[in-house]
C-alpha cells in the first residue's frame, strides 16, 4: 500500500529524509495515517490547528501493567514501550503501512540486496544525561540486544556487566550481524541476510539508550530509570501504580512528522495503571484520565453519545485472535478432518457478537485485513457449515456415542487449558459450546498463569490454545508458523519445510508483490492443513477527552504519540 505525504510519494524502498514527511501538520498526518490504514488515498487535507494551552499534566490510563522493567530492550510488553517510547526514541517511526518517517535518523538508504541499512543520524541531539547522541549510541543499543545470544553461543561479551536478557527487541532486530560506524553521524547496519521487515522492527523496542547511563547506572538501575533522547524524561515509577514522565525542555529534534518538533506541551504525563477495563472506561467519562487504552465494549454506545469523550477506532495489523491446534499431539487432534470440521462448526459472526459485543471483524486469515500481504482469497476457504463439519467427521470414522463422538473406542475429547482472564475464558466456552453440537467434547481447564505457561511450553499438554499478536509486518507469520519457533510462539508446532521456505523467502523478498504472493501461499497452507482457526481481526478502541488534541497513533495501533498533544 502506498501513502502520500504532502504529495511526496513515500515508500519503504525510497530514501526518505526530513523533506519527505515535510511540514505535515500533525492533524493532517494523523488523518493520513488513519486513512492509509483504511485503504484510502489521502492527498489533500486542510486542518487548522487550534491554539492550545501549554503546560499542565496528562493522565493516561494504561490498560496493562509494565512487566517489571522500563528498559526498552528488555521488556516483552507493548504497554511498557507505550511509556518508554517517550524517553528512548527509535531511529524511525511507522505511522502507516510501509511508511516510515524520521525518528533519530535523518535519512536512510538500503543496499541493493537488502542486507545493509545505512542511517544518517540527526545532529545536535543530546541524551537526558547530557551526553551526545551519535552513531556509537546506536551501535551500543543494537549490540546489547544480541550480546546475550552471542554469549550463549560462546562469544564472551566485551562488557559482561551490562549484558541484558533481551526481550522482544531481539526478535525485532531480525538477522542483525553487526553495525559499522562510518562517522559520528552515519552508521551502517549489516544483516546476515536481507530482512525486509527491518525498518518496521526497529520501533520502540529499539529505542536508543544512552551508553553512558547504562554503564554508570548498571543495567538494573537503568531498567528502573531509563535515559534516552525523547521529549519526556523519566520522573518516577511506583510499581503497579504509575509512571510519571517530565517534559524535556531542551527537546528540539522531534520528527518532522509531528506538527510540534520542539519540547512537548505537557509539563508531565502520568501513566496510571488501570487494568480493569470498566473502571478505566469510567475514568475517561469523569475526566479523571484524559486518554485511555482499550475501552469496555459494553460502554461504547455511552461513550459515543458523550460529547466530552472521543473514541479512537483503529484497525490493527498483525495476527488477530486465532486458535492454534497442537499438531504434535497424539489423539483426535492429529486427524486433519477433525481440525477442519472444527473450523466449519464455528459461527464467527456469533462469536464476535458473544465475546466482543460485535466490535471486531470475523476473521478469515491468520493475518488481519489491515496487514500488508493479507490474502482476501482466504475469505472463501471456509464458511459456517455444521452439515459439512458433521460430514467430515463421519467420513473420518468418528461416530456418535451418546452426546459425543468416538472412533475405535477413543472418545473425541480435546484439552483446552486457559488462563482465568478475558477474552480467553469466554472464547474457550463459546467454542466448547459450538463443538459440542458436532459431538466434540472440549475440556476447558482454567489454570494459574505460571502453571499454564509450563503446560504449554514444557509439557506441551494441550490440543487447542489461542494467540493474538499485533505486529506491523506480515513477518508475524514466521513468528507463529516457522519451525524454528516451535516451543515459542509456534504453538501449533507446525513443522513444514515448504512453509518454512516460503516464510524465509518472504522476509528476504524486496519486491512487495512477490512478498504478498509468498505470504498468500503461507496463509492458504496453514488454513488448509487445519493448523489454525482465525476468529476475529481486532480493532483498537482507545478513548480520550474531546478537548485533547494532537495525539496520534502508529500503524501497529500500539504506540500513542503525545509530542504534539495538548488541551484546547
Amino acid at each position: 500500500m502506498d501513502t502520500r505525504h504532502n504529495g511526496t510519494r513515500v515508500s519503504r524502498r525510497s530514501l526518505i529524509g526530513g523533506a519527505a514527511a515535510g511540514a505535515a501538520g500533525l492533524s493532517v498526518a494523523q488523518l493520513q495515517a488513519k486513512a492509509a490504514a483504511h485503504g484510502v488515498d489521502f492527498t489533500s487535507a486542510h486542518v487548522v490547528r487550534q491554539e492550545g494551552q501549554a503546560g499542565g499534566r496528562l493522565i493516561y490510563g494504561l490498560g496493562f501493567d509494565l512487566d517489571g522493567t522500563m528498559d526498552p530492550q528488555v521488556t516483552n510488553f507493548d504497554s511498557t514501550i507505550r511509556v518508554t517510547m517517550n524517553i528512548c526514541e527509535p531511529l524511525v517511526w511507522m505511522p502507516a503501512a510501509d511508511t516510515f518517517v524520521p525518528g533519530l535518523a535523518e535519512s536512510w538508504t538500503i543496499s541493493e540486496d537488502g542486507s545493509e541499512y545505512t542511517f544518517v543520524l540527526k545532529q545536535g541531539v543530546t541524551f537526558h544525561d547530557g551526553t551526545p547522541f551519535n552513531a556509537e549510541a546506536v551501535q551500543f543499543t543494537f549490540d546489547r540486544v544480541v550480546a546475550n545470544r552471542l554469549q550463549t553461543e560462546g562469544t564472551p561479551a566485551a562488557e559482561p556487566d551490562i549484558v541484558i536478557l533481551s526481550g522482544q527487541a531481539r526478535d525485532h532486530l531480525g538477522p542483525y550481524s553487526h553495525s559499522e560506524i562510518i562517522d559520528d553521524y552515519t552508521i551502517k547496519v549489516v544483516l546476515t541476510s536481507a530482512f525486509t521487515p527491518f525498518l518496521s522492527g526497529i520501533n520502540g523496542y529499539l529505542g536508543i539508550v544512552s551508553p553512558t547511563a547504562v554503564r554508570t547506572m548498571g543495567i538494573e538501575a537503568f531498567a528502573r530509570a531509563p535515559v534516552g533522547t525523547g521529549p519526556y524524561k523519566f520522573g518516577e515509577w511506583v510499581e503497579n501504580d504509575h509512571v510519571t514522565l517530565i517534559k524535556n525542555p531542551d527537546y528540539n529534534w522531534g520528527s518532522s512528522f509531528f506538527s510540534n518538533t520542539g519540547a512537548p506541551f505537557f509539563d508531565e504525563i502520568e501513566y496510571r495503571v488501570i487494568t480493569d477495563v470498566s473502571i478505566r472506561t469510567g475514568t475517561i467519562t469523569t475526566g479523571e484520565t484524559q486518554y485511555i487504552d482499550a475501552i469496555d465494549p459494553l460502554q461504547l454506545p455511552d461513550l459515543e453519545a458523550n460529547p466530552e469523550v472521543e473514541v479512537i477506532k483503529y484497525d490493527q495489523p498483525g495476527s488477530g485472535r486465532i486458535l492454534l491446534f497442537n499438531l504434535d499431539r497424539e489423539g483426535p487432534i492429529a486427524d486433519q478432518n477433525v481440525r477442519l470440521a472444527m473450523h466449519y462448526a464455528l459461527d464467527k459472526v456469533a462469536f464476535n457478537e458473544a465475546v466482543y459485543g460485535g466490535l471486531n471483524i470475523p476473521a478469515a486469515s491468520p493475518l488481519m485485513r489491515a496487514t500488508v500481504g493479507y490474502d482476501p482469497t482466504t475469505e472463501t476457504m471456509f464458511s459456517y457449515d455444521v452439515a459439512r463439519a458433521n460430514q467430515l467427521l463421519d467420513e473420518a470414522g468418528w461416530v456418535m456415542n451418546g452426546d459425543f463422538r468416538e472412533k475405535d473406542g477413543v472418545p473425541l475429547r480435546l484439552e483446552w487449558p486457559t488462563q482465568q482472564r478475558e477474552p480467553d475464558v469466554s472464547t474457550a466456552t463459546f467454542c466448547q459450546g459450538a463443538w459440542r453440537e458436532i459431538g466434540i467434547d472440549v475440556n476447558v481447564e482454567i489454570l494459574e498463569p505460571a502453571i499454564l505457561r509450563t503446560r504449554i511450553r514444557e509439557e506441551i499438554a494441550y490440543d487447542i490454545t489461542p494467540l493474538w499478536f499485533s505486529y506491523a509486518d506480515p513477518d508475524v507469520l514466521r513468528t507463529i508458523f516457522w519451525s524454528g519457533n516451535i516451543g515459542n510462539f509456534n504453538r501449533s508446532r507446525l513443522n513444514d519445510p515448504a512453509v518454512d521456505e516460503l516464510l524465509i523467502s518472504a522476509f528476504q523478498a524486496i519486491d512487495p508483490a512477490e512478498r504478498a504472493s509468498l505470504y498468500a501461499q503461507v496463509q492458504q497452507m496453514v488454513l488448509s492443513v487445519g493448523a489454525t482457526i482465525p476468529l476475529v481481526d481486532t480493532i483498537v478502541y482507545n478513548a480520550k477527552r474531546a478537548n485533547l488534541e494532537g495525539d496520534a497513533i502508529d500503524y501497529a495501533a500500539s504506540y500513542v504519540w503525545l509530542n504534539s498533544a495538548q488541551f484546547v
Binding site: 490510563g61 501493567d65 512487566d67 517489571g68 522493567t69 516483552n76 550463549t152 536478557l165 533481551s166 526481550g167 522482544q168 531481539r170 526478535d171 543495567i219 538494573e220 531498567a223 528502573r224 511506583v238 510499581e239 503497579n240 501504580d241 504509575h242 496510571r272 495503571v273 488501570i274 487494568t275 480493569d276 470498566s278 473502571i279 469510567g282 475514568t283 467519562t285 469523569t286 479523571e288 484520565t289 494459574e448 498463569p449 505460571a450 502453571i451 505457561r453 509450563t454 511450553r457 514444557e458 519457533n485 516451543g487 515459542n488 510462539f489
Partner: protein, 307 residues
Amino acid sequence: MGPYIARRLLQAIPVLFGISVFTFLILHLVPGDPALALAGDRPVSDAELDEIRVAYGLDRPLLEQYTSYIGGVLQGDLGQGFHSRRPVAESISEALTPTLQLALAGVIVAVVLGLVLGITAALFHNSWIDSLAMVIALLGVSVPVFYLGLLLLFFLSFQIQIFPATGSEGIRNLILPGFVVGFSSAAYIARLVRSSMLETMRQDYVVTARSKGLRERVVVTRHALRNALIPTITFMGLQFAGLLGGAIVTEQIFSRPGLGRIAISAINNRDFPVIQGIVLVAAVVYVVVNLLVDLSYAVFDPRIRYG
C-alpha cells in the same frame, strides 16, 4: 510487661522459621517454572533456560537454596526479585506503606462504624433503629468486597463523581477503599458490640451505677462499653489479617499500589524471593498485631496484668 514482651517475641522465632520453610517448600513443590516466566514470551532455547536457572541459583539443590536464602534473611537481606532485579526489601517497603494505610483506614472505618451501629442498636434495643442498624450489619457481612467496591465506584466515582476512582495520593483517595476494606469488619463489630452491650447493661454493676444516680452517658461509656469492648478487641486482632486480605482485592479494584498487587504479579511470575519476602513480612505483621492486641487487654481490663 518487658519480660512478657521479650518472651512473646522469642516465641515468634520458631513460628517465623516454620513459615519460611513451609513457603519455600510450597513454592518449589507446585508446578510453574520461574525460568520460563523470566524468559517471558520471547523465543528461548533450552540452553538459555538452563542459563537463567544457573544465573538465579535455581539449579542448586533445594537445601542449599534454602540455607543461602535463610542466611541472607538473618542478615536482613531478603534477596533480589527475579523479575525486577530489585532488592525484595525495597519493593516490599515501597508497597507496605500504601497497604498499611489502607488497612489502617479499614480499621478506623470498622471500629468507628461498628461501635456506632452496635451501641445505637443496643441502646434502642428492639426498636426500628435497632433493626435498621442490624440490617446494615447484615449487608456488611454478606456483600462481597469486590461487589461493594464496584458499586461504590459506580455511584460515587462515576455517577455523582465525588471520589476519584484511581490514584493513591491523599486522604480523598483513601476514603472509598478504606470503607470497602472496613465495612464487613464494621458489621461484625456492630453485632458483637450490640450483644455484649446488651449483656453488660443487665449486669449488677450497671444497675448499681444507675442507682448511684450517674448520668446515663457515664453509665454507658465508663461501665458498660469498657467491658463490652474486650471481645471486640480480640476480634479486631483476628480480623487484621482479614483486612490485609481484603486490601489485596481492594487494591486491584481501586488500582492502588500495595502488597496485594506485588503479591499477585509475583505469584503469576513465580518470583520466589518476592513471594517469600511478602509471606514473611505478613507473618511478622500478624505476630506484632497479635502481641499488641494482647497487651491492649491490660489497658481495658485492670484484672489483666502481664509480668
